[in-house]
Structures are given as structure tokens and as C-alpha cells.
Amino acid sequence: MDKYRRLVQMPCRHTLTSLFRVCFVFNLGFAWTCFAQTDLVHRGVPEQVQQINQLVAEQWQAYNLRPSPPASDAEWCRRIYLDILGRIPRVEELDDFLGSKDKDKRSQLVNRLLYDDTYTEEYARNWTTLWTNLLIGRTGGTDNNSQISREGMQKYLRDSFARNKPYHRMVYELVTATGSPAPRNANFNGAVNFLIDKVNMDDAAQATAATTKTFLGLQVQCTQCHNHPFNEWKQDKYWEINAFFRQTRARNAGRRAAAMNETAELVDVDYRGPAGIQDSAEIYYDLRNGEVAVAYPVFVDGTSIERDGRVDVVNRRQKLGELIVESPYLGMTMVNRTWAHFLGYGFTKPVDDMGPHNPPSHPELLEYLTNEFRKYDYDLRSLITWIVLSQPYALSSKISAGNKSDDPLLGETPKFSRFYVRQMRAEELYESLVVATQAEGTQGSYEEQERQKNLWLRQFASAFGTDEGDETTTFNGTIPQVLMMFNGELMRAATSSDRGSLIARLANNPRLKDRDRFVYLFKAGLSRTPTRDELNLCEEILKINRGNQTEALKDVWWTILNTNEFIFNH
């Protein structure tokens, strides 16, 4: 708490404090942990939801926008399953929700998806997927050249999300972890996978950049070699953060060790610095003019720690972890990231580049939610609840006459006066197909299922060939994706009529009429019933198939799964 107060009261000579002046005045009067975890979703609308609604609506007024009408229950239901669990709703789940007459049914559903044991595994899987991609990329741990264990990373994350570990605890563990990456290792600690391949190369440049970017929303990587071109970052800042990682070593982490199957380990060891001064272990770096400068560990807010390089005197990474956990940027970045996950755009673009050079679109709201998130002891499920119960999240994605100008694709900052359509992620498509075709449980154990999914996902990942491991995905609405949806193996399985398949079960269910079967497919894929026009189309297809139900169902199901409406979260 003291450190936190000091940070906020610090004079404004420092870069970051100027941001606080602009968009961030913290209320220090709160009590941290006085709220019980269980009672977060009350009957009625939580105060945080009302605040979101109000602060977003203020911008609508300011920009003379009229929001789109609310989305239907069915649309909202599809959204929330996709965004919280990473898949579309089953037909039964959709029917349950639509059938409920309870006024409070939306918050009940949110509650169920977040807190009911039935959904814990899926919830944890979805957030594990998101965070695995964030922490080690889509390709991390998928080849033999690195000691990253994707499985170990996922095990750690799954456990954290399933138990609802407070976010700041999770970050502290990821930043300070020691141990071995793979579950089979004796001193296994899955959290080490975040840093294990980022500390040895290039004086831990990747560890420095990834840690500040991922958890604090601060991009310092450019300042490794020179002052930042347009934010106020100076080169010394980079190296002062970098100095926190100099005790850290990844043992047996190289290609050779990986090939030899030696156990890697992330450890902290005494650091002496190039000059060998143990009690003041410094680092050197090159200035652009060719001169050499010196740096010691100093956090982004200017807090210095002891310069001693001995781990038992001061463990630099643990100090860094403590400072990160105390930093207001921690919550702010997570709020921004989480908002972007649900609403399609964050308050800044990109979400992990914050600072005076990139002012947020809704500064008050960002500040408010950051404070609340912290008040609730960094409880992710509370944050999710507030966002998904808000008005902006519940708006239709249809553009109306009153909000044409609210289009982030036109370079406007998002005003959230409608729900911005976006494509499913590859993982969401995969899980949705599994659920929609009722293929759960037919693919073996959890590990086996994940292995199959990862194998399938690999076709979309491609790397840029830099030393920072930048990468991209071809699951982005381009031709390879459409080819996969047209002809891929996964789609062939999803639309097959083999024994036990969705099509076979529908076709062979004597209680269903032709029409019921088509309606079922529309609900399974699009979470809605077909229009009259669409039913006519189905009838035509049945006729072309000379009355063969199975074949007609296959045609209709293939068609539904290939639509824009299916692949978009709308």
C-alpha cells in the first residue's frame, strides 16, 4: 500500500506519472478485499454495470449517436457462450435460455457459465487458450527446438482459471516462476514456460519486452537501441527493467539440450555484472553514439531496488513481481484487454500499448473499471460479469441510421453504440463444431482432445522469421480458411452421416418431421430458427436429393456452417 501511495504521489517529472495526470486519478480510499467473492452477481443490476452504461452513453451523447436496438435473446446467448466458453451454445442450452420467463435470466446465465461446476472445464479451457497464445504464442512449444512445454503452460493456466486465482497472483507467479516446464519433470512449474525461452538470448530482451507489454501495457522494445520515436520512453528505461532479469537463467534450454531430452529449468543465480561488483551488480548498454552507459534495476514508476546481485540478498524477479502487482498499469491493461475481448475493440489500439502517446477512448470508464477490478481483488469473473451484463455488450450488431459513423474500420475511435461483428478465432470454430455436431467425448481424454485440436490449429500459424518470434495466423477470413471450411477434413467429419454423427442421429430419429430436422440444424449452427424462405430452400434441397433425408441434411448443414452468420460472432 505504501509503495502504491508513493507511486501516485511521485512528482510528475517522470514519464508515467504524466499519464496519471491525464487519465488516471486514483481513489485511494478503497478497502481492498472487503468484498466476498461469492456474492458478486446480485439480483438486479450491479452498480458497475450501471456505471459502464452511463459512461458509454455519455459518449453517445457527445458524438450525437443513437445506439442500435438491443440484440435478441438468442443473439446475446450465442455471444456469451462464444466469449465466455469459447464455443456456441448447444440447442438444449439455447432452448433453456429462450424458454425461461425469468426477468433475471441473463444474469442467471452469466452466473451459471462462470460459477457452475458444469462449465468450469470449458471456461478454464477457453481462457487457457487465450492466455497460452498471449504468453507463448500460437507456435510456442510446437517444435523440438525449444524447451517450452505447451502442455505445461496450459496445465498451469487451466489450474489458475479453474480455481479463479486472482489475476495479480497469476501474474506474480508468471513473472517470478522457477522450476521445470513440462508436467513430467520432477520440479514441474508450468508458469516457467512464459519466460523459459525469453531470458537466455540477447540479454533477456524478450523477457523485458514481453513482461512489460503483456502485464503493464507498455511497449519498451524499441528503446533497447534508441529512445522511443513518439512516446516518452528513454533508452535507460528499457535497460533498467532489463536489469531485473539478469539473475535469471534457463538451464538446458538450448536446442541441443532439447534434442537430448535434458530437463530444462528456470533458475535465479547470483549476478556479478560485467565489472564483477557483487554488491552493486550493474549492466552496460550501448548508446547510439557508441558510448556505453550503465543501468541498475529501476521499475517503470522510478522505484529503485537494492543493487546487490546476490539472490539471497535481493531476488530481482521477486521484487519486479511485487512492483508489477502494485502497479496501476496491471489492472488497467487487464481491463483493457478483457473489454476488447468482449466488445471487439479495447479502449486503446493496440490494447497493450498504453501511455500518453496513445490516449484511451473512454478514460473515465477505464479508470473506473480498473479501480473496481482492484477493489474486487483482481477477480476476473467479476470483471467479466460487469462487462457482459452491460448495455453496450447487449446491443444489436446491425448498423442503424443513428450510428453509421461509429465504425472503427473508418479510423474512428470505437463508441460501442453497436456490437462490432468479428470472426471467430480458429479455436472457437473448432470447439463450436465439436459441440454443434455433438462430438464431445468421442475423441478420448482431455489431453488427447487438446492434442488433436493443436494438430489442426498448426496449419494456420506462421512465423515472421525474426528473433522475437513474431507470428501471425492465416485463419483470418482469407482463402485458406474458406478452403478449409469447404473441403477440410474437420468439415468432412462435421458433415458426415457416419454412425453416431449428428446427421445420422437426426435422420434416424423417427419422432422428428422433415421440418424439425432443418430447424434443429439452424439452431445448432446459427442459434436461431430458419425463416420461411430458408425453410423453402431446405425443401428444395430435399427435393433435389429425391427425398433422401440424410443427403439433404448434409447439404443444409454444410451450407449453414459455411455462412458468414456462422463464422462471425455477431
Binding site: 538470448m201 540477447d202 530482451a205 522494445q221 524499441c222 533497447q224 537501441c225 520515436p229 550501448d286 489500439k349 493496440p350 500499448d353 450488431s397 446491425k398 448498423i399 465504425d407 474500420l409 473508418l410 479510423g411 474512428e412 461483428v421 468479428r422 506462421s462 512465423a463 515472421f464 522469421g465 525474426t466 528473433d467 522475437e468 513474431d470 501471425t472 492465416t474 483470418n476 477470413g477 482469407t478 482463402i479 485458406p480 474458406v482 478452403l483 478449409m484 469447404f486 473441403n487 477440410g488 425463416t531 424462405d533 430458408e534 430452400l537 428444395e540 434441397i541 433435389i544 447439404d555 443444409v556 454444410w558 451450407t559 459455411n562 455462412t563 458468414n564 452468420e565 463464422i567 462471425f568
Partner: protein, 422 residues
């Protein structure tokens, strides 16, 4: 019909099936197997560009602009070439084609971060959170596509990694990413073509409903990409991707590795009329132990494939219509760092161009004796892009409009590097 009927022989039949919803009869169609590709004819007088992208930032001071008398010099010696310049001794095959390539030694840029540098060098613009600019591939494909309406292959193909995207030009101009084996996954429809046509027809009707609900441009883009995919699936031009059909001798000449195959594939695609092909060679981020990596690994791969590409294009008469651009995000620090590596350096570095309208065998601009700074006029990404457009006959008066209607000059109003043209 939402999906436009494309051109082409076999496709016409195919599309007739698409045209009527209930036309589920008639004979099976043989798609994409019967007709021979008559590529060289197709490509005559059509301009194309091939970008050799060196991901990670190549050390141009060790390749194209050596400083043997400086303390910053690495161990490599300069050798004579067929052009009016010297280059690195570990590029002997390329030295033999330097009469067809020219080096710009006075690139000076400001983006020394990988992401930012990649974006800037690909688009001519610095990254801006409010807008996404189209990259080389999208711009050139967009401008040259009109010359070849018969092309079914996407006009922007990225071999290997993945290039920067189409920005505000839209997903229809996005790179079509393939691996260097030319293998296109999931290309074969797993059913009777008539049945496929039936499904497409039904799909077109469902797509239309969602588009008309006015939920933004993404829905319409989805339909456009479907149309392009259908074109591709039913096209005999896909034979251009069968890089394995090349004679063994030529495969060896290019090098039996991803980059070598990628360059060979690029030639095949250009020959088939594709206006823009990007081929990636990564692994230039040599912060440590740079010289053995360059000498034993990167340079031999580059030398073989790059020289083979120039030769092969030239032998087929394609070089005069095909611009080659070799570049990365930035160069590397002239000063060798404490771990025998070089770090990021954008202030003075080199790129290489050739083919199309470019003059060969010359150098443009220079850096100072220790390689740290440009002497005289320096050039930017915008200037390079303007020069490439000029070499392809694309007017620099071309203006794009962002989605919000903001006009943007092609190549960000860069100036043509005059020395590169006769």
C-alpha cells in the same frame, strides 16, 4: 446470385450449374485437370514483382556495402561482380548476375523494431492505430490485376511466412499464403461438382440475408473471398503451384531448401501471370555470433536462390517485366557488439532491386567510411516503393481512398530514385 460468375472454360460449365438452384442433373464435370497451362504466353508483357523479404533485419554491411578498411568491418572480403560494384565474397553466384541488379546503399529509415520496421517497409507508412495501410503485395496486385482478368490465382501470393496485409483495400487483396512446396491445402472438393454447385447456390442465398441486415463490411468481404476461392478451386491455373514438376537440375540450382523452392515457385507464379509474389527468408536477427551464421547458413542459401531466380527469369525473358526487390526491416549496427553480433540499425543500410524497368549493375548512394551514416541523399521506404511502382508502370498519381474517404497517394507520396532508371 451473390457470387459473380468468373471467366474460364471449365468454369463456365460449372457456373451454369450454380445459376439455377434446382439444376441437379446433367453430367459430371472435370474441373481443373484437363487443360494445359499455357503460361508463358499469358505472361507476355504483363508486369509482376517478386519481393524477397529478409525477416529479422539482414546485415547489409556484410553483404552489399562492405567496409573493409573500417574497425566496423567483419571478416568478409569484398569481391568483384559483373556489375559496377563489389559485394561479399560469400555471394559468388549473385556476383555473376549483379549486372542485372542494383544496390541502393543509402536507405535511411527510423523504425528499428521488427513489427514497426516490417510494417513501414511493406507499406511506406509508419504504424498508426487508426488505420491499416495496404502493403506492397496488395497495392501492386490491386494496380496490375486489371491487366489480367483471366487470372484465377489470387494476385498476391505469399510464400513461406506471411506478408503484411491488405489494409483498407480489404480482404479481397489479402495475401494468399502457401508453403514453398506450393502445396495448397484442402483444394479438392470432396464431392460431385454438381452437388458442390448446389451447396454454393444455397450458401449464396444464406449469405445474402446476413449481408442485407447491414452489420458492416465484414459480411460482404466474406462473400468476396468465397467467390475467389471458388475461382481458385475450379482453375487449371493451379498447376502453377506444382513446383515439383520442375527438372531436378533446376531444383538443385535454386537450392533444395524452403527459400530455394520458394523462389522457384515465385518464378512459376509470375510466369502464370500472378502480379505479386513474396518469398520470405527469415533468421537475420543475428545479435550474437553473426559471422559464422552468415557464412555457413544464411548467405549460401540466399546466394544460390537469388542468383538462380535472376538467371531463370532472364532466360525465359521474364526479367524485363518482373521487378525484384530484396529487403528486410532494417540493417544491422555497423559496430560489432560485445557478443560478436550486430543489433538493429535503420540509419544507413542497403536494399537491392532489379528487373522490370530498373537499370542493372549500379549502386545508388553511399554510406560513410565506417558505415554508420548515409553520405549525400538518403532514401526512404516511400521512395523505394515509388520506384518499384514506377518500374512496373504504375502511375504515382494513383490515389487510394481509406474506408473513411481519406485520399492517400500511392507509396505515401515517395519520390522515384532517378538513378535507378535509364
Amino acid at each position: 446470385m451473390l457470387f459473380r460468375t468468373p471467366t474460364g472454360m471449365s468454369r463456365r460449365h460449372f457456373m451454369q450449374h450454380l445459376a439455377s438452384a434446382s439444376a441437379f442433373s446433367g453430367s459430371a464435370l472435370a474441373l481443373g485437370h484437363t487443360l494445359q497451362l499455357n503460361a508463358s504466353e499469358l505472361a507476355r508483357n504483363q508486369k509482376s514483382a517478386i519481393l524477397l523479404w529478409m525477416g529479422g533485419g539482414p546485415s547489409t554491411i556484410d553483404i552489399w556495402d562492405l567496409k573493409p578498411n573500417s574497425a566496423n568491418s567483419g571478416p568478409f572480403k569484398p569481391i568483384a561482380t559483373k556489375g559496377d560494384m563489389q559485394i561479399c565474397e560469400h555471394m559468388p553466384m549473385t556476383a555473376q548476375v549483379m549486372d542485372k541488379l542494383s544496390i541502393v546503399r543509402s536507405m535511411s529509415t527510423r523504425e528499428a523494431d521488427h513489427d514497426r520496421g516490417r510494417y513501414y517497409m511493406h507499406t511506406g507508412y509508419v504504424p498508426n492505430p487508426n488505420i491499416e495501410h495496404p502493403s506492397y503485395g496488395a497495392v501492386i496486385a490491386h494496380e496490375l490485376f486489371g491487366q489480367r482478368r483471366d487470372l484465377d490465382i489470387p494476385p498476391f501470393v505469399a510464400v513461406g511466412g506471411s506478408s503484411e496485409g491488405p489494409g483498407f483495400l480489404g480482404m479481397a487483396w489479402a495475401p494468399f499464403t502457401v508453403n514453398s512446396n506450393g502445396q495448397v491445402r484442402n483444394l479438392n472438393m470432396q464431392m460431385d461438382p454438381e452437388r458442390f454447385a448446389l451447396r454454393l447456390n444455397a450458401l449464396s442465398r444464406l449469405e445474402k440475408k446476413f449481408i442485407e441486415e447491414n452489420r458492416g463490411t465484414a459480411a460482404l468481404e466474406h462473400a468476396k473471398v468465397i467467390e475467389k476461392t471458388v475461382n481458385l478451386m475450379s482453375s487449371q491455373q493451379m498447376a502453377a503451384f506444382r513446383v515439383d514438376d520442375e527438372p531436378q537440375e533446376l531444383k538443385e540450382r535454386y537450392g533444395q531448401n524452403n527459400f530455394g523452392r520458394g523462389c522457384m515457385l515465385a518464378r512459376r507464379l509470375v510466369q502464370a501471370g500472378v502480379p505479386f509474389v513474396g518469398v520470405d527468408l527469415g533468421g537475420w536477427g543475428n545479435h550474437k555470433g553473426i559471422f559464422p551464421t552468415l557464412q555457413n547458413d544464411r548467405l549460401p542459401t540466399l546466394d544460390r536462390a537469388m542468383s538462380a531466380l535472376v538467371e531463370d527469369l532472364d532466360n525465359r525473358g521474364l526479367l524485363q517485366n518482373t521487378a525484384i526487390i530484396w529487403m528486410g526491416e532494417f540493417g544491422r549496427t555497423p559496430r560489432i557488439n560485445g557478443t560478436a553480433g550486430r543489433d538493429h540499425w535503420a540509419r544507413g543500410w542497403s536494399v537491392v532491386v532489379g528487373g522490370a524497368g530498373f537499370k542493372g549493375g549500379i549502386t545508388v548512394g553511399a554510406t560513410n567510411d565506417d558505415g554508420t551514416d548515409v553520405v549525400g541523399t538518403s532514401y526512404s521506404s516511400e521512395d523505394l516503393m515509388a520506384s518499384v511502382c514506377h518500374s512496373l508502370g504504375i502511375s504515382l498519381e494513383t490515389t487510394f481512398y481509406s474506408r473513411s474517404g481519406r485520399p492517400m497517394k500511392i507509396a505515401n507520396s515517395g519520390k522515384v530514385i532517378k538513378e535507378l532508371f535509364a
